[in-house]
Symmetry: C2
Subunit: 157 residues, 2 copies
Amino acid sequence: MIPVERQELDQRETTPLDTSVDELNANFIESIARLKRRLRAERAGDEFNDLHRSVLTLLVSEGPRTLSQLSDHEHVKPPSMSETVNVLEQSGLVERTSDPQDGRKVILVATPHGVHFVAESRRRRHEWLNQRLHELTGEERRTLAAAAAIISRITDS
Amino acid sequence: MIPVERQELDQRETTPLDTSVDELNANFIESIARLKRRLRAERAGDEFNDLHRSVLTLLVSEGPRTLSQLSDHEHVKPPSMSETVNVLEQSGLVERTSDPQDGRKVILVATPHGVHFVAESRRRRHEWLNQRLHELTGEERRTLAAAAAIISRITDS
DNA sequence: TATTGTTATACTCTATAACTATA
DNA sequence: TATAGTTATAGAGTATAACAATA
């Protein structure tokens, strides 16, 4: 039924490769959307969300960043990042400092407590996914790691 | 700095494999969260979201389902699925029918318009991601396809 | 005047609680 | 009673618009 519809509708040139990209697009988005919804249920009640953790991890591993740098990197708008940073700041995990060269800028720095938190929390978080990952074969894990690298690259392009 | 912290904190036994799973967990979640945020920005203004499309695709390709079956499959609660189905129904893409065996159940069926929509929209949606996928090598696409399959499997376990 | 960030407000997506109808 | 689904309401996460401070 679907192939017939596709045939009717495919007015422009398509190669089998196009079709496979379309399929990949749909399958891939649907699979990660379902995973995100499942993870949401698993981590209900957590104090920090993925964005909080991603920002903190970046500050710990890569060093201080301005608010705009953070919002660009994470693909959110500055007001969203400002609120995210408020939470981290109120928890004592990051500090706002000012740029001596440019008074408009706010530079975010991880506190020692923030560094400690990242090291400590990597293991505990997303326990459900951790368990699932442990059940995979080494090759399957390598596939996911390779996929994560590809996703990061295209997201930032 | 981080390795020292880890060493202090790692009270329980961990193997190198554990660490790599932790890293994979963090990297993977962060990469797909950033991708999701980027996709949100790219598809602003769209009439349907990922859940609408995923549900419609399932009904078209796999046949009629009850509301509970849909909410289980997509990992949302029944009220969320009910609202999602309302939108698809109001757009004429699915129909609610009743189960002749059990009057409590609602069976969702894709309309001909819904079938047509799925075939027609696969190509157009997420144009930004489609473009990125076209720029990948065949092997990179195979990696993502394999990752999507693994994700789907573990999400539904 | 342009840029960086914040505050106020609103929208999207999903959840929980309360309810209706049927088994 | 227990189950399937809906309605009403709330919360998390993100956005846009308006504003303040600095360049």
